[in-house]
Assembly symmetry: none
Homo-oligomer: 327 residues x 2
Amino acid sequence: MHKYLDITWTGFSLVGMEDHITASAARHPMRVVIQRTGLSPDVLRAWERRYDAVQPDRSGGGQRLYSDADIERLGLLKRVTAGGHNISQVASLPVEELRALIQQETLPPAGPASDAESERLRSDLQHAWDAVERFAMGDLEATLRRAAMRVHLSSLIEDLIAPLLARVGERWHAGTLSTAHEHAATAAIRSVLGWVNESAVSRNGAPLAVVATPQGQRHEIGAMLSAAVAASEGWRLLYLGADLPAADIARAALTVGARAVVLSIVYPADDPQLVPELSRLRHLLPELVSLLVGGAAADACAPQLLAAGAEVLPSLPALRLRLGALA
Amino acid sequence: MHKYLDITWTGFSLVGMEDHITASAARHPMRVVIQRTGLSPDVLRAWERRYDAVQPDRSGGGQRLYSDADIERLGLLKRVTAGGHNISQVASLPVEELRALIQQETLPPAGPASDAESERLRSDLQHAWDAVERFAMGDLEATLRRAAMRVHLSSLIEDLIAPLLARVGERWHAGTLSTAHEHAATAAIRSVLGWVNESAVSRNGAPLAVVATPQGQRHEIGAMLSAAVAASEGWRLLYLGADLPAADIARAALTVGARAVVLSIVYPADDPQLVPELSRLRHLLPELVSLLVGGAAADACAPQLLAAGAEVLPSLPALRLRLGALA
DNA sequence: AAGCATGTGTCCATGCTTTGTCAATAGATA
DNA sequence: TATCTATTGACAAAGCATGGACACATGCTT
């Protein structure tokens, strides 16, 4: 593990000074830098050759020997370029400038360096969760919006927002998170989803979906997610929110000429009113209008829902696919 | 060397958002600008080519390199054009004027609106109402946003949104408007209010208000309006939504160090739980934290509310004044 | 009502930039 | 000797520049 130190000292005329040399003066060969920064050897050499990103010492034989400051600098450069900056533009900036750039970056603060997008989303999720616990809704919104700019809406919803909501709901049920936390998180997510939907373009002649929650279902969040998915698939939207009687939904769908009605069912899962209500809705809608039902509780009563004439979409990706096919 | 830039990405719930970030002398390539402004590359280039919106530096190879000021300017332009202004007419405005446009400082906020302006608002109200009846939520949002760019937020809320909501509620009670209409209108207004609040600047040390609806009160819209009023008075916000027990509200207020708790009471007006719940909340909150109660039904039980230790604000202007005095 | 002008977001085709990666050859290290 | 590392030169994918064109909505004119 620490073998490389020996190598280091053999190169230059430092033999015998080991005792006086502090860790910060140590010199590390390339493999250490690779391991600590995650950069490839080729990239390391290219950055040095083409942009003078660092000027490491050399061993007697000419091999690179990096200082701790070099390693830190390279780590910063990796972060900054991952945020979209050209290496050619930032390679010569002083360390403080690099730090300032990172502060502006759309990346979540801190966290171990990792290049995988999913790793970044995991870090976002953790950050978002911390924000919810602290009632730091500004942080939460900022994190979600940054992620929204970075990844596709489907990924935002399915890999970040949905897991976050699941975690919030879980802790809420367990009693370790207050209703206030849950409401605040919902409001912030609603704000972000609304903002995202604004940027979703929909052609003028795009098909229109009515999104709502049937009577008795008071949890709106599933409908919000469904709406976002529909928008990202290019549908125009009429968003009606939660807890609506079948007659109202049908009338709205007819008024605007919807091609699909998307419902979300979360809780309660065993509402006896649910199936008759959906059956009524199905009969009020024209044959051509699809009735899509999703949400955490939809799976449980899938047979009855199918019997009532609805399609059951057990997951958001499934809903996305179905909407894509219908469009 | 280091300047401070204002951030306008303050959303509907703002607690914990960093108020300032440091600017750097670095130049940013196009993809960073895309990320941070949400503009498309084509729009970016078109705005530069056709309207000289910004004049970025160029790299050795001719690629655009934007400054922090450029990015800020582009963000403002996006915001202003979303409000209905033509890009061709605002592209050359200095940043201060853009900011002024966003903060609706172009028109004097207070006082009796001019005849022309109030006439305009009346027409907007009619237009908005038509849109609600037709489920044309896109039209509704566009109308509200255009108005928001023209008049002060107080006027937008008190002369347009509140009357519209009153009319919707009235027709809904009378049975001439479906619940779906009411829900759809609420969703659209919520979206516009969130959008408007993004531009409400809150100073760094601004006082913080928790906005919610007490347990049993399921109508969220009054809380949304109260939140918008508070934001327009420069308060930071923690928005908790509807139907929360006193203990939760108190805990949230304590966690974030709120200086006021704003509650909205609309329906039912005769909930026997209401007064004890508010009394409980009053006792859970520190003396220094004001408890402000507004909403259509607050007037009816004003004596009991006062006895429970709450302040009753019978109208949105009254709430605005009180919040202004508290800040 | 139909037609025309204008504004604006988007798309395309072609060519240049940027940058990560690789190959070949040679030297260093353990 | 086996494994790293250095150097140079080259390549290719992704991104960007540019001018032009198109689509679509709005609003004005006939």
